[in-house]
Amino acid sequence: MTDVLPAAPSTAAPLSAGEIDAVRQRFPILSREVNGHPLTYLDTAATAQKPDVVIEAESAFYRESNAAVHRGAHTLAGEATELYEDARLTVAAFLGVDEHEIVFTSHATEALNLVAYALGTASIGRGAGAAAAEFALGPGDEIVVTELEHHANLIPWQELAARTGATLRFIPVHDHGGLDLDAAASIISERTRVLAITHVSNVTGAVTPLDVLVPLARAAGALVVLDACQSAPHLPLRPRELDVDIAVFSGHNLYGPPGNGVLYGRAALLDALPPFLYGGSMITTVTMEKAEYLPSPQRFEPGTPRIAQAIGLAAAIRFVQEVRMERIAATEHVLGERLLAGLSTVPDVRVLGAGSPEPRVALASIVVDGVHAHDAGQVLDEVGIAARVGHHCAQPLHRRFGVTASLRLSAGLYTTEAELDRAVEAVASIRPFFGLSEGEQS
């Protein structure tokens, strides 16, 4: 495999135009056309496009090494197991944690459900004795989320609260879209047992001020669960430095295949939590009455896992590591500023959460006055621009902003300034297409 960038410098400078071009060459899909226009893919937050190395790693596995892992003694089984465990090492190194702190799941959604269910199971007295009992929730205990969570980091907690009698509370957002940190300081209290928050909002792109929230949770003795779906692809992610107990993301957001999610959990925590799904590959001894479980991560990975997907994710991680996450973050910072500056010149367009003081990734969700998001997105699709329309699995946040849907533009490491300029131009054409002049209400 050729290097991604010929002379990868060790700076944190944004990628040059030439370097972005070299990166783009590695994503085969970017050369296709949509509706007679070059594809402008601005839906990376929904799922990222895949570089050639990911496509090849997955297919090479099926061509050369396919076998079940952890379940056989033949040569292929050994090779497949080694590749799968190598993938775990790659993910662990990427996050700066130990390999047995990495659990592979189907996606971030399953990872969050795993944690919520494991806590629920501990709450009915199952699990490894005193260590698990420490996590038991009941009436009087509180779980805290924020008003800007993706449904995947909200509904599992609603259900956990319902099962255990604990109370679910949320940190509200200000009108400008930022989290109300004063409210957070009173909501997070000694009753708080879990703080489950997103690292980067998939609607506003804002980076959550963890430096404020995590210490509050620590002081309260609460577990901190971080939804890193929208940060892992765009910022260096170091769960230990962030001092969180759990961090989850989906491989498909990080240029890897769908069907694979990552759960990082602090070793002591994972060893104490009861399993979520039960079956083969997770046990030591089974009798007709009961079973004993392997330590983490195996205890959380029953069944035949998503092997090729894990191998594909490892290839994606090596790819972004070659470019360097620091440089990706710097490049996308410039892109994000340009996107917001461009959108601010378009009349009658509102960017959700634009007024919040937090730094943000290159993502903006907009509302075009008088035009439903679905119609607005159609105008972009006509010129080959892929953007997401809808509530982006964040209905409460959209309700908070007084809208049901928005149009989201989200960049990746292959996005160019010219693409964002085209998108802004296309956004400016939406109201005129629907016959609305400047300032006119529909």
Partner: protein
């Protein structure tokens, strides 16, 4: 005409801006349909003649994209125009019409809506090339179908 202009014909834009048939009454038997992808919502009621055997009108309320709102408005206009012409639908006729509408919209541009049958609503033919939008256009029609099935 570009694909976009085929989708958003002037008739559709007019109906979405100035929808017809809006306004439900207390006590109406309604069907509420949602498109969870984009939050389109339609609540629709059928108006029956004195014998209760023929549909003479359609009333609705809703919010959402221009295609979903225009489609509800066009359906209500179609019902009104046939009633004004002295003709109204039996449940079977209306059900057949909904089936024909659905078949055309799902045809990926191969079956146009017949202008004789559908009047101005035939402008919705363009939607059938936009697979992601078929659901928007179907919403009001599915609500009507739901009410007819409840009666059957």
């Amino acid at each position: 005409m570009s694909g976009l202009e085929q989708l958003y014909q002037q008739i559709i834009l007019d109906h979405s801006k100035h929808p017809h048939g809006v306004g439900l009454e207390a006590g109406d038997e309604t069907s509420h349909q949602r498109n969870p992808v984009c939050g389109d919502e339609i609540t629709l009621a059928l108006r029956w003649d004195a014998t209760g055997e023929r549909v003479t009108g359609i009333a609705w309320e809703g919010s959402g994209c221009s295609i979903s709102q225009a489609s509800a408005s066009l359906l209500s206009t179609l019902a009104k125009e046939s009633t004004d012409d002295g003709w109204s639908w039996t449940p079977d006729e209306f059900t057949a019409l909904i089936h024909e509408f659905r078949e055309a919209l799902r045809s990926r541009g191969t079956i146009p809506l017949d202008e004789e049958t559908f009047g101005d609503a035939a402008a919705l033919s363009g939607v059938s090339k936009f697979v992601a939008r078929v659901k928007c256009a179907m919403l009001a029609w599915v609500a009507a179908e739901d009410l007819l099935q409840r009666r059957a």
